[in-house]
């Protein structure tokens, strides 16, 4: 481990001190002078016509400042969608409007009917309860298959039907049918990737503020990408030019995707602050979060694998229904398509792969990206299917995977993407060691001696991170650029401020990003401060999601620092009366090769701002550089995971006995932070596999709307994890050689758990091929006793 706090050092996090002492500054910790409070009246039915919203009595209640309804937002823009998918016939997806407050209809539990602004939160809530609403109930569309039936009630009256798009991607019909027609064996699996709720521990908060003297609006919000919110809300909803709109995302208590999106509550608070000339604050309760935060996953899939007589994969075909919920959130259409279909080849050289996805509107809370976003769904299908194929063929599940691994790079898959580098045998080799696969049979016997069934489950994943090459995204329907920005500002006395468009909400950027700059300049990381999360302070940046911060944002910092070094060398050359080409920078010291001449970093930075002895005829004073980095490809982290479970045959309860993860993230900046990211992803993946389930009844009522009903993983549900990222194939196309690590754990873990449970049941003689997640005791017990 480097001792200097540079690249590769497990430096403790500097942000920890404020979080450990209660000094964090989360959005709800911000209180503006004279602020008013918002309470939303939300629909308690999933689908209905708004017949009457009578605010008269409520408006007269103590403390009420104003009550807003949909009428107040006529002529105001709706919440925009940032990605347009083109369907199999070349037609654009159906794209319904999403008003800030409901107009005419409510379309899901939690849809916003009215908003009360009052002097106190209690007064706002009391008045919201006093609003008289008449809703004519309409049949709720909840099940995706039923939603696509010809006579199904339409979620949006102005659309043709409930189909957002029907998308086909990858190999053509002739290639895929050719593969299946010559198959020696075909394995088929139908499965559900259940709906989840992201549940960052900090609920969402929005505070709108307006300065009439300058006509400037400010929004403080729990966001992963403040500039994207500024662009979407300013340009598409409220018509506020960007120079009159500031968006601040201070300390944010976890995101996991659900804080990417632009939400109506943000637009409402900004709008109301300007209308009322007062700061307006909304803080979500957890109950409200369950019915207003965009949810995740919710795919129903049939997948088929064709193998030849030597067990080579020759064809893969999938048919997926993906739930969009009632409205399209910011990147929702891209999740089941370009973040899912493009990864369907996995780590394998299957020559023909075709993916079909139909996205469906239902009367449920909108669905969008949640940690992994499409890639967990792809991995889960494929890796459950391969396990089933291995069992049907009597093949070893590891050997079957190894036999079909991609081994030569770059490799272009039938689903468009090009893996630049990787070593799937390498991560599997590591896994076989850290999971002690050799010792499994003994452990199984020990478990059996205790009356338990023990199972071993394997999984290999690949993901596409580092979103994304802007030109490619544009071709695929993305309505934004996906570069990242950085400004490096060197002060006269040698300290630096790095301003990044990435946003840290737990990832430790304030520690790891300065490690990169410190390493490049050879100075102490304590001389470097990181600024993020405020559009008034940072260059236009695209934020944090899709494990992109280091590979794209870090690369922008790298490029800006390169520019700093290039200019600093010019200054140093002048000070040393040497040729610029001979100047070297090492350990914060500029020197001239082959001489004893040298100047310190601080001498050069001082000269830049006090240019008395300075080459003013050649270069400007000052030392500040900005870079925008647009990646040329995605990055492709990959790895192999293993899970061991014990199943109690009397109750069906599954206990995770061990979990091992071997990842290839390319180069590593801070291994301690990387380990932590993997731990957290595995925890969420185990949560999906064993516990979590977002359930609606047939009327669209949400049955799992609190932590009492939605089973979050707790400390005693999970074991210590063995993680290893020593198998490294650096990314070939970004300057740091990094790939991203934020989502791997959540992508790689669910199939390993379910594969292990099926293996355990099979070892007990139960002919169980598959159990849908969450693999709860009731489901396991039923599978054991029906099979």
């Amino acid at each position: 481990m480097p001792a200097d706090g540079g690249i590769g050092a497990a430096t403790p996090r500097r942000e920890d001190v404020r979080f450990l002492t209660g000094a964090g500054n989360y959005t709800d910790d911000i209180n503006m002078r004279g602020q008013a409070y918002v309470a939303f009246l939300r629909s308690d039915v999933a689908h209905g016509k708004l017949k009457k919203v009578d605010t008269g009595a409520a408006a007269a209640m103590p403390g009420v400042i104003r009550i807003f309804t949909g009428e107040d937002f006529e002529g105001v823009g709706g919440i925009p969608c940032g990605w347009q998918v083109t369907d199999r016939h070349g037609e654009p997806m159906q794209e319904p409007p999403q008003p800030v407050l409901a107009q005419g209809k409510v379309r899901h539990i939690g849809d916003r009917i009215a908003a009360v602004v009052a002097e106190s939160l209690e007064q706002a809530r009391n008045a919201a309860e006093a609003i008289v609403v008449e809703i004519e109930d309409l049949p709720a569309v909840v099940d995706m298959k039923k939603a696509l039936e010809p006579d199904a009630t339409k979620v949006h009256d102005d659309l043709k039907n409930n189909l957002c798009y029907d998308w086909v991607f990858g190999s053509d019909d002739a290639a895929i049918e050719g593969a299946f027609s010559k198959a020696a064996h075909v394995t088929t699996l139908e499965l559900v990737n259940q709906r989840l709720v992201a549940n960052p521990m900090e609920p969402r908060v929005a505070i709108g503020d307006y300065a009439s003297h300058s006509d400037e609006s400010t929004l403080y919000t729990t966001s992963q990408n403040p500039h994207m919110i500024r662009l979407l809300m300013g340009a598409f909803v409220l018509g506020i030019p960007e120079h009159k709109l500031r968006v601040v995302a201070p300390d944010v208590g976890g995101g996991f995707g659900t804080k990417i999106f632009h939400y109506a509550e943000e637009a409402f608070c900004t709008f109301a602050a300007k209308a009322l000339h007062r700061p307006v604050k909304w803080t979500s309760s957890r109950s409200e979060a369950f019915i207003s935060d965009a949810q995740g996953r919710d795919h129903v899939t049939k997948i088929e694998l064709a193998l030849d007589a030597e067990n080579n994969f020759i064809g893969l075909r999938t048919d997926t229904l993906a739930n969009m919920g009632a409205y399209l959130m910011t990147v929702a259409p891209a999740v089941p398509t370009y973040l899912h279909g493009t990864l369907m080849a996995g780590c394998y050289r299957t020559p023909a792969v075709q993916v079909n996805v139909r996205a469906v509107f239902t009367n449920t809370v909108p669905v969008d990206a949640y940690r992994g976003a499409g890639r967990p769904e792809a991995t889960y299908q494929l890796e459950r299917l391969i396990d089933k194929a291995a069992r049907e063929l009597g093949a070893d599940p590891i050997a079957l995977r190894r036999q079909n691994f991609v081994t030569e790079f770059p490799y272009t898959t039938p689903v468009a993407v090009q893996y630049d580098t990787g070593n799937y045998h390498g991560t599997m080799d590591v896994l076989e060691k850290i999971a002690d696969i050799a010792g499994f049979e003994k452990r199984r016997k020990d478990s059996e001696a205790r009356g338990k069934l023990r199972g071993f489950g394997i999984n290999c994943y690949i993901e596409a991170c580092g979103l994304a090459p802007s030109h490619l995204v544009g071709q695929l329907g993305g309505r934004a650029g996906f570069y990242e920005s950085a400004t490096v500002r060197v002060n006269a006395t040698g300290g630096l401020v790095v301003m990044t468009g990435s946003h840290s909400h737990g990832q430790g950027h304030e520690t790891s990003f300065p490690q990169v700059v410190a390493d490049m300049l050879g100075i102490d990381p304590s001389m470097i401060e990181l600024v993020h999360g405020d559009t008034s302070k940072i260059p236009m940046g695209m934020g944090t999601y899709g494990s992109r911060s280091l590979s794209v944002g870090g690369s922008a910092i790298y490029r800006a620092t390169e520019k700093i070094i290039a200019k600093a060398k010019k200054i140093a050359a002048h000070l040393m009366e040497a040729s610029e080409a001979d100047v070297e920078l090492k350990d914060g010291q500029f020197s001239v090769a082959g001489t004893d001449k040298s100047v310190a970093w601080g001498d050069v930075t001082l000269a830049a701002y006090v240019p008395h002895n300075y080459p003013l005829e050649d270069i400007e004073p000052g030392l500040e550089e900005t870079a925008f980095y647009d990646p040329s490809n995605f990055t492709y982290p990959a790895g192999a995971y293993a899970c061991e479970v014990e199943v109690d045959p009397d109750t069906g309860k599954v206990e995770i006995m061990s979990f091992a993860a071997a990842d290839d993230f390319g180069n590593i900046i801070n291994p301690m932070i990387v380990d932590g990211q993997v731990h957290g992803g595995i925890g969420q993946g185990i949560g999906q596999a064993l516990l979590e389930n977002c359930v609606y009844d047939e009327t669209g009522q949400l049955l799992s709307a609190s932590f009492m009903d939605y089973a979050m993983p707790r400390a005693d549900d999970v074991p210590f994890y063995a993680v290893d990222h020593s198998s490294q194939t650096p990314c070939t196309h970004n300057p740091l050689g990094v790939k991203g690590c934020g989502e791997a754990g959540a992508i790689g873990s669910p199939p390993a758990v379910v594969n292990a449970v099926v293996d355990a049941l099979q070892s007990g003689g139960h002919k169980v091929d598959h159990i849908d997640m969450p693999v709860s005791p009731a489901r396991v017990w039923a599978a054991m006793n029906n099979a």
Binding site: G22, Y26, M201, R286, S706, M708
Partner: protein, 161 residues
Amino acid sequence: MPQVSMTVNGKPASGEVEGRTLLSTFLRETLGMTGTHVGCDTSQCGACVVHVNGDAVKSCTMFALEAEGADVATIEGQAAADGTLNAIQAAFQEHHGLQCGFCTPGMVMSAAALLKENPKPSEAEVRKYLSGNLCRCTGYHNIVKAIMAASGQDVGAIAAE
């Protein structure tokens, strides 16, 4: 409105509250001590844990008036006056027991209560004790390690880095 008075981190604190005002609201809104967080409304997540007369309490589930005259300790009072972290806080930093930091105040306060009643808890005992504190970032690995390390146990032998 009624007046409530208590001691918070060794200093007298008082204010006007409604009968329904929660202790967490009193700390955050009346006293401006925003280190105590509210992550749910069903007493499940534990981000709001403080100590009341030495016992770990979910401050979102206690009325401020119930703390009349009580000795309340919060995350803001855990470090020394000069900012030096206490043993639990230091272990959380050393072992990367926090990421976004939102659950952290409750985790630290729960850990302190645990170690007071069980100075050398086993892994299973730590996990059991934390079942009322949710974390969405860490998968609990480094939180459990940090608490065991704070109790003086050699965690290198218990779980790999």
